[in-house]
């Protein structure tokens, strides 16, 4: 795929009669440099995938605790992405459609989790949602909802580090919706709420879906915050870490390949779903 794109760009560069205004030399150099990065992304993952024989892969896939860990990761990420959507989309809409005092601060707050080391995020969350935490303790006493050693804790950790992606991508999605379309909807008799559901949200769908996809992917892959807040039950990254510590690279790699396969398949499926959203009318 990568090689193919490079060679087709090279063919274009030397093909006689190409558009003389296009800087093919520049394109060629950019592709060359870009392919280093692409290779850097893909080669380790391919090497990992190829390191496992099918038999050992199948063996790992049959291990109950590995499967449970992956299922837990998927479940936590699903809840995290759902919560991020419910909590993040309204904020994204306000940021895209209104101006208010402190908007820059709000935008910075949203990016804050991206700048905090995830282990630090885990410790901070522990202080709030932990056994003695300001939220964790009363919530446990009142409702029995505990964030230590539970799926709820995993979701909280995932949400903290991954929700910014939903807000930022959805905001871009909302900003791309032409406000005049919303105005037209209003003149057609649709109230503000109906206009939001029928026009704005569907047109911003692509941005929202991109955000949800990124949040989901980021949630599955989260290790640092999760491991501090909730070690057991183990999510897949935590389990892989433990396998690595206890049994070494080979054992860990088997589970790693399985997680890679599952998360990659889901990521591609979600991405395809996001892509299928209608494009804006070319104006």
């Amino acid at each position: 795929m990568i090689g193919g794109m490079v060679s087709s760009a090279a063919e274009q560069a030397v093909r006689p009669g190409g558009d003389p205004s296009r800087p093919y030399g520049l394109y060629l150099v950019c592709w060359f440099i870009g392919s280093i990065l692409l290779a850097f992304f893909t080669v380790p993952l391919i090497a990992l995938a190829l390191s496992q024989s099918w038999a050992s892969f199948a063996q790992v896939a049959r291990m109950a605790d590995v499967r449970a860990a992956i299922a837990l990761s998927l479940e936590g990420a699903l809840l995290s992405a759902t919560l991020a959507t419910l909590l993040g989309v309204p904020l994204a809409y306000m940021l895209a459609r209104t101006d208010f005092v402190g908007k820059g601060i709000v935008a910075a707050l949203i990016d804050l989790p991206l700048a905090v080391p995830h282990t630090v995020a885990g410790i901070a969350l522990l202080m709030v949602f932990g056994r003695q935490g300001v939220v964790g303790a009363p919530l446990a006493a009142l409702t029995g909802l505990r964030f230590w050693g539970t799926l709820a804790g995993i979701v909280v950790a995932m949400l903290f580090v991954a929700a910014p992606y939903t807000v930022n991508a959805a905001r871009i999605g909302f900003e791309a919706v032409d406000p005049r379309l919303e105005k037209i909807a209003r003149t057609l008799g649709l109230g503000p709420w109906r206009t939001f559901w029928r026009i704005t949200l569907p047109l911003a769908r692509r941005g929202v879906m991109t955000g949800v996809t990124l949040t989901y992917a980021r949630s599955i892959s989260e290790f640092g915050a999760v491991v501090i807040l909730v070690y057991y039950p183990m999510t897949a990254p935590v389990m892989i870490y433990e396998l690595f510590l206890r049994f070494g690279l080979d054992q860990a790699a088997g589970a790693a390949v399985l997680l890679l396969a599952v998360s990659l398949a889901l990521f591609l499926a979600l991405r395809a779903l996001a892509r299928s959203a209608p494009e804006r009318d070319n104006r």
Partner: protein, 371 residues
């Protein structure tokens, strides 16, 4: 223009501050089925005016009345307005049918002449001849089809007023001309009043029953399009409506049913007298098409200007000619006429302007002029 009292649509003294922009006491009135064109340069406040009428800005003062209803404080969805914007603003994620079906017909909707099937998407699409396109997405439509769908959609909401915000501004001249004609005939059939905003004076000429010129948030002239084109209130409006020749002069005499304006260089032009006092500085607006070009012999003595050709530009059927006769004067020649005269740059030529074709303007013009 209809009086505001008995008008179908009346906008009265609409005043609004929007950032640094101010809309200042805008008055508009439309009779039933009338097309009002709001003409003005970019930044004049045309779109803000429309959006305020539609209910997207709250005016500080003034009223918007549709039929007998004062809608000034109503939200857009309760005003019964059909809104058409640049490129027609179809919802890109909905099919043609979906675009029309999304409109909610309002109980308050009242139409003297109900258009065929208002409120019924299928009937509306049939009426505009776009039923075969029902399942298509807007991206797959031609500009003409988009316009028809946009009109069908606007009608589905049973509007009592159409607002058009430069719907043609992204189109090429040919398509624009075609869609303009089509729009006008639809609006005539529907008999729903429309306010059409544009910065293009050809749009204004083609569509307007009445017209207002907007500048810096104020109405600077209103009247019929013919009146505004023939008698612009000031030189800026004159330029805007396509007057090519604007001369500075001074009114020197009023006598015998004629006024005389000294335009410098020992040249005087006779004009139809106006109420301006002798000695006043004036500006003369002379449309290029009113300047007759001919050979020196046989030309009338009044407003006869001898000069030399400084430029000739062939534009297909027309040739524009520029003459230096003490001041620069632009005129048109039809192709056969240009061939017969066989003029070249530097040739002597005589121009003649009928006194009735010269419009006298007094500047600075402080208040809006009503024609």
């Amino acid at each position: 223009m209809s009086g505001a009292r008995d008008a179908a649509i009346a906008v009265e003294a609409l005043t609004l501050q929007l950032g640094t922009f101010r809309l200042d006491r805008i008055d508009l009135a439309l009779g039933a089925g009338e097309i009002l064109v709001v003409l003005g340069p970019n930044g004049a406040g045309k779109s803000v005016t429309l959006e305020t009428i539609a209910g997207f800005h709250r005016p500080e003062r003034g009223r918007v009345r549709i039929g007998r209803r004062d809608v000034t404080t109503l939200p857009p969805e309760r005003r019964n307005i059909g809104f058409v914007v640049q490129n027609f603003g179809l919802f890109p994620h909905l099919t043609v049918e979906g675009n029309v079906a999304i409109a909610r017909r309002r109980a308050a909707g009242r139409l003297d002449t109900s258009p065929p099937g208002a409120g019924d998407p299928v009937a509306l699409l049939n009426y505009f001849g776009v039923a075969p396109l029902a399942k298509r997405l807007p991206a797959d439509l031609s500009p003409g089809e988009k316009q028809r769908v946009a009109l069908a959609r606007a009608l589905a909401g049973a509007p009592e007023l159409f607002l058009f915000d430069e719907p043609f501004s992204a189109l090429d001249t040919q398509t624009r001309t075609q869609l303009r004609g089509e729009l006008k005939s639809f609006l005539r059939q529907l008999n729903i009043p429309a306010i059409f905003v544009t910065h293009d004076h050809t749009d204004a000429l083609a569509l307007a029953d009445t017209m207002v010129v907007l500048r810096q948030g104020r109405v600077v002239q209103s009247g019929t399009s013919a009146a505004i084109f023939a008698r612009p209130a000031d030189s800026a409006i004159a330029r805007f409506v396509g007057v090519d020749n604007i001369l500075d002069g001074r009114l020197v005499e009023t006598a015998g049913g004629m006024a005389t304006v000294d335009v410098g260089n020992d040249t005087v032009l006779r004009v139809v007298p106006c109420s301006t006092a002798v000695g006043t500085a004036v500006r003369l607006a002379i449309r290029a098409e009113e300047v007759a070009i001919g050979p020196a012999v046989g030309a009338p003595d009044v407003n006869r200007l001898d000069g030399a050709v400084t430029a000739l530009r062939e534009l297909g059927p027309l040739t524009t000619i520029e003459i230096d006769c003490g001041f620069a004067l632009k005129a048109y020649l039809l192709a056969p006429q240009a061939r017969a005269l066989r003029l070249g740059v530097g040739d002597g030529v005589t121009a003649h302007i009928a006194p009735t074709a010269i419009h006298v303007m007094v500047e600075p013009c402080e208040d809006a002029v009503r024609v």
